[in-house]
């Protein structure tokens, strides 16, 4: 598990100090995947560099399993770095070494003897599905394969935390999938805690349990992805749920308009019709749709209800476990 406590960092720029991190606090439970997202300039790169122990924050703590790593130096710092596996931004493999040689690098600096090193490299190449590429040089691999080797290298010294800084930014959607699968396997098979810094909400959608949204060096949202999507006002729900087109004309035909978010319902389609028949209301779908967050099906629908017991029907849907957000009716529908 990794905790970031009240991290601050500023850089002196030409126009005075630039605050990159302004009291960032994060907690990632052991064995979970947390995404750090935010627009460029939000401080996520600085946060990644601080967690990678490449940049020293001005104040605050970074704890891995309770121990603060920020103030360390010398050999203690080098030992601490082995607890955090890092997949750096961009191409980071040694081009003069084979894939296996790259994966072996952290083991060499940890002083692991040759035979054990080879065994471990074999296990890791297997984990990332590139056993047959052991003897290939980075320039003979595709971008996605290189990135999977970088993940294998980051995991070599058995870190308890894996930090990936924009691991998919240079990849096309298909190869992105293979890299994310590898990150997910690392969590599932090795139990590492994964922190992914990314500008791509698709990464959050596919592998993250938790998400932290950064803006202007502050965490403006942090929590479980599935909790945040149910919160209609959150940025996470805005960017992960199926969008709903504004359609005031259609909405005005109903007594009530509401957004219904259903998380993890196998029978999403059954809940709404049942509400309609139970309460004798007319229920129409105005927009939205189904999506998937990791393995969990998630739906957001905008529904319109007409009938005396519309409020009760919405109440019932909410009690059944869906998040219901009532919409104020458009201007033309507001009764004086």
């Amino acid at each position: 598990m990794i905790t970031v406590e009240n991290l601050t960092k500023s850089f002196s720029g030409r126009t005075g100090a630039v605050v990159a991190l302004d009291g960032v606090t994060l907690e990632v439970a052991a064995g979970t995947v947390c995404g750090v997202v935010g627009p460029s300039g939000s401080g996520k790169s600085t946060l990644a560099r601080c967690v990678a122990l490449l940049e020293r924050p001005d104040s605050g703590a970074i704890r891995v399993d309770g121990t603060d790593l920020v103030s360390l130096g010398g050999s203690a710092l080098r030992a601490a770095r082995r607890q955090i596996g890092v997949v750096p931004q961009g191409d980071s493999l040694l081009r003069q070494r084979t894939a296996a040689g790259n994966v072996a690098l952290p083991l060499e600096s940890a002083g692991v003897p040759g035979p054990q090193r080879r065994t471990r490299v074999g296990e890791l190449l297997d984990l990332v599905g590139l056993t047959d590429k052991a003897g290939s040089y980075p320039d003979q691999l595709s971008g996605g394969q290189r990135q999977r080797i970088a993940v294998a290298r980051a995991l070599a010294a058995n870190p308890s935390v894996l930090l990936a800084d924009e691991p998919t930014s240079a990849l096309d959607p298909e190869t992105t999938g293979s890299v994310l699968t590898v990150l997910d396997r690392a969590r599932a098979e090795l139990g590492v805690t994964v922190l992914v810094v990314t500008h791509d909400m698709g990464v959050v959608r596919r592998i993250c349990d938790d998400v932290a949204v950064l803006d202007h060096g502050r965490v403006i949202e942090h929590g479980k992805v599935l909790d945040l999507v149910a919160d209609a006002g959150s940025r996470t729900s805005g960017s992960l749920l199926p969008s709903v087109d504004q359609n005031p004309e259609a909405e005005s035909k109903y007594d009530r308009v509401a957004d219904v978010v259903l998380v993890g319902f196998a029978a999403v389609g059954a809940l709404l019709p049942e509400a309609a028949s139970r309460f004798g209301v007319e229920l129409g779908l105005l927009g939205g749709g189904l999506t998937r967050l990791g393995e969990t099906p998630v739906a957001r629908f905008r529904v319109g209800l007409t009938g005396e017991r519309s409020d009760s029907a919405l109440e019932w849907i909410s009690e059944a476990g869906a998040a219901v957000q009532r919409k104020p009716k458009g201007p033309q529908g507001v009764a004086a």
Binding site: A79, R81, V86, D91, S92, L94, D139, A156
Partner: protein, 227 residues
């Protein structure tokens, strides 16, 4: 008196002078590379953005290196006589010429090496840092290893530069091809000696360049090399 030297003598001269030149070139390059690589590493490691940035040390080193490079070799040759006598035990001859040749080449190699190491991409170096590797290990298995092809090319450039410098070794009786061309060729109005010496130098230079390019390409694992 302006007789043309017979070919048999010319060949004898050339063989002897080539031997002297290669001797001076080989030893001097070896010494310069052995001292210049650590110097270049030191320059790069202390540079801004390096592994252990140290502006003061970096600036002093850079100043000394540039001073050394600014010194004309012919001056170095005569100014360093005292040091040459101390190290080589004599102040004239090919062995004596090796001392100023080596010393004059060290700063040159230092700068070349620094430039080569600076080309290793920051993310590659940082990736090694995050694995908990120490500075020495990163220098050895990342900086030097990653730039091996470029380092070999730099040594090739150095060898040829030293061969050129060694032409001046005649000033302190170092002999060699340059000396032969000047004394028995140019100054004796013997064009046969002059131009055959130049021809040998041209062949040597071309050959050396070919060999070093070849080795550099062989150790290069990047894509453009294998195609």
């Amino acid at each position: 008196m302006n007789e043309v030297t017979p070919w048999s003598d010319v060949i004898d001269y050339l063989v002897k002078a080539t031997g002297e030149s290669l001797y001076m070139m080989g030893i001097s390059t070896l010494v310069a590379v052995l001292l210049g690589i650590p110097l270049g590493v030191w320059l790069q490691v202390t540079a801004p953005g390096g592994l252990r940035p140290h502006p003061f040390v970096h600036r002093i080193l850079g100043f000394v290196v540039d001073l050394g490079r600014a010194m004309p070799f012919i001056i170095l040759l005569v100014v360093l006589t005292w040091l040459t006598r101390f190290i080589a035990g004599q102040s004239i001859g090919p062995s004596a010429a090796i001392v100023p040749l080596s010393i004059g080449t060290v700063p040159f190699v230092g700068r070349l090496v620094q430039n080569v190491l600076a080309e290793v991409h920051v993310s590659v170096v940082e990736a090694a840092v995050t694995t908990g590797s120490g500075t020495l290990r990163i220098v050895r298995s990342v900086l030097l290893r990653e730039s091996l092809p470029a380092l070999i090319n730099a040594i090739g450039v150095t060898v040829i530069a030293v061969l050129g410098y060694s032409a001046m070794a005649g000033v302190i009786g170092g002999g060699g091809l340059g000396d032969l061309a000047i004394r028995l060729g140019y100054q004796s109005f013997d064009n046969r000696v002059l131009w055959s010496t130049v021809a040998v130098l041209a062949v040597l230079t071309t050959l050396l360049q070919f060999v070093f390019t070849r080795i550099a390409r062989t150790v290069d694992r990047r894509r453009h090399a294998s195609v």
